[in-house]
Assembly symmetry: C2
Homo-oligomer: 505 residues x 2
Amino acid sequence: MPALPAKYEQLTREARPGAVLGAAQRVLSWDQETMMPTNGAGIRAEQLEMLAGMVHERLTSAKVGDLIAACESDKQVMSDPLAAAGVREFRREYDKKTKLPKSLVEEITKCSSQGLHAWRDARAKSDFSKFLPHLEKTIELARKKAECFGKPVGGELYDALMDEYEPGMTSARTAEVFKPLRAFTVELLDKVRSAPNKPSRAAAVAEFPIEKQKDFVAFVVKAIGFDFDSGRIDDSTHPFCEDVGPGDVRLTNRYRANGWADSISSGMHEAGHGMYEQGLNHDFFGTPLGQYISLGVHESQSRMWENLVGRSLPFWEWATPHAHKMLGGGISKYYASDVYKACNLVEPSFIRVESDEVTYNLHIMLRFDFERAMIRGDLKPKDLPGEWNKRIKADLGLTVPDDKTGCLQDIHWSMGAVGYFATYTFGNIYASQFWEAMAKDIPGRDDLMRKGDFAPILKWLREKIHIHGRRYGAEELCKMITGSTLDSAALMRHLSAKVRGVYGV
Amino acid sequence: MPALPAKYEQLTREARPGAVLGAAQRVLSWDQETMMPTNGAGIRAEQLEMLAGMVHERLTSAKVGDLIAACESDKQVMSDPLAAAGVREFRREYDKKTKLPKSLVEEITKCSSQGLHAWRDARAKSDFSKFLPHLEKTIELARKKAECFGKPVGGELYDALMDEYEPGMTSARTAEVFKPLRAFTVELLDKVRSAPNKPSRAAAVAEFPIEKQKDFVAFVVKAIGFDFDSGRIDDSTHPFCEDVGPGDVRLTNRYRANGWADSISSGMHEAGHGMYEQGLNHDFFGTPLGQYISLGVHESQSRMWENLVGRSLPFWEWATPHAHKMLGGGISKYYASDVYKACNLVEPSFIRVESDEVTYNLHIMLRFDFERAMIRGDLKPKDLPGEWNKRIKADLGLTVPDDKTGCLQDIHWSMGAVGYFATYTFGNIYASQFWEAMAKDIPGRDDLMRKGDFAPILKWLREKIHIHGRRYGAEELCKMITGSTLDSAALMRHLSAKVRGVYGV
């Protein structure tokens, strides 16, 4: 690899210790979720707070700021495309981190911590009134935060919040991309409802011992390309992927006796995140060129492996015989097509994280609209439950029985994460766009999958997406790869085809 | 708990961040040994080095030094026995950490790192000449280090090295304590050799599935009192105990198909270390009053549970029926007395870590004598293999076949740990002394063990030893508890009784 300009290298050296400590912090946090005994919680909280402070201090130091400025006025740096992209992103991060006054950061931290407790309590009792004051405070603080970041020219405050998770994205663009998708999905749901035959879910809910399921998930995750020399997989209540450092990416998964198909999905989902992290350029660790682009692009990787690979018929044509061997017993009577259909049923439901590939985006679009309206002031937090239930009725035809099954189901707002939700659907959209573009480069893709050869898919993702880190913006990269920016048409084509394959309509 | 004097509290507050970071460092190090994937090694080394530097910087800061000095001249502090003890130990640590010039520390670090590589290579090839230059350098640097610490009045350089692991201990005292033990052991071995009947090892080497062994070890470790809300047990190549913070003590163990009895021993050994850490006063975390006294006392706790409990007949009278239930199969034909005898065979062997309770100390005494002689200059490193083999012949009657089975077997010197070995035998001695003293306070101890009631033993250890942290020195505490300082008589009585029980001689 050619050396980057001297001034830029100086900046990356200055940034490295913060990144190294940040990675240490992630090991501690992973350990907290997976390994730590109950009574270790006290000191762990103290360690995480201390490290967070130290990381923040290093990444926002005047020296880093000065070096960014020096790079910006250094011709050698700015005429090098890689270095210039790095500087642009260093600047974005630095500004984000330094624009908030300390008092606001502290207020937000306190509000999140109290909000989390209040939300757990409210959800347990399905009592929105217990969470309402915290939601109001969260929206107020999010607005203050957005004001500090500054709204983009011609944009709205909410855009500044989205930008934290999906750099460069605006709410107007999002609304434009979501509009046809919502109408399409509602219509597609009608089609599904009117389908003459409903496939059986039986193959997906057959019971198997957890240990066998674990072995099978590990086998699949390894087969699709997750590198166990640079990662591992453990158990946790909620599956997640923690990139604890270059060469060390940790997945978790969960298992239920009758949930083997779900475990495969969540395992492949987390492995998709993990392989993105494993595919980043580790020479650029600790700099934007070694980091993922956006949550949307990250989610495109997890969704691609979960849905476009893991819920495809060719995948199950490969995987089903292995399932017969490894799970034994109750699976041997099912063919690949049974499993394929069983894990692709479309059924409107209340809970986002349990919903299918088609209805999932309706859950997201609801949240995006409501968040945006709350930040604008067009929706009062107190009116949320009523509006939520109306929308679920309109889009999914369901009557929400209580708030824990409705607007209290997600953790995000309680933690102060406003502007995050849309990235899930960006992920689904990008995944379909990339998948279509990839098909042109790998013409025999289905046959390869049938043989269990996933390497060409991963190679394509590595070369087209992973290796670039944050060099390009999300939509810019999408345009380079697919010829267009974010566009839900590919996702709609995919969902139509899926419904046709499963329901014959 | 009554508050300690203000000036002392100020010192402990100043020391806390270093301790908190030190605990974080231990989590990373535990993770490295147990969880980390291969390719995570690079960043982990960087993190550990960085944290080590930060911890060192905080613990050796001028501010800490000033506060120690301020405490030493503060009447309120020095007239409070707890605080005064804390200051004494803060001073000892601070001086140790600040007395070495940076250049020497760096030289030692470099030498250890190269030495470790050289040692692995030399051991693999059983070629002492490959390790010799590193051993020479290690001894030279150890001598320099000892000179920086300064030798005690009337003592020798080697004492300053021992003091790092066993504060207050000298080589003269050690030699005095070891002398009768060596003569006794050689004589006891002769007795064993002449015993008419040798018990069978069969019960200890019956084969069981590893998973069942793990469950059984966890069961035993929990039964003797290790708190799994404040700890866990995992696998590793070499068993160890890492106290990663208050309320979080991590054991590891290893398993072989035909090594269930060894796994119980090593599990109980590590749990003994772990229960000491769990029994420290966590209100004093990050200060000497919340730390273990010395490696010898630490080892006394592991050896007590491993040998005095775990290799006793009453223990196996309780454990054998559980083994029947949990391991099943090949163990059901053995009685408690079979297992007891099988795991107490005395057989001279070459490798320290595989040796039995009787011969173990001969291996240690050899190392102590040779280390001391090398530091004195009385033994040249190049002459080590010859002297080693002569001594093994004299003490154990064995002919060393090669250096990997001889003087290259231990990792310690390669890491620069000179002055450490004797603490293993101190542990055996202290354990026996404590065990005899405990018998007076818990008259029905054997019956309690037969019923699986180990709580009174742990309670005694907690109250007599654990809770005091570093308030008293090792020999001082031993005298308080047993009426005498370090004295091998109790160990000799224990070993005689053991040999009588197992061999009938």
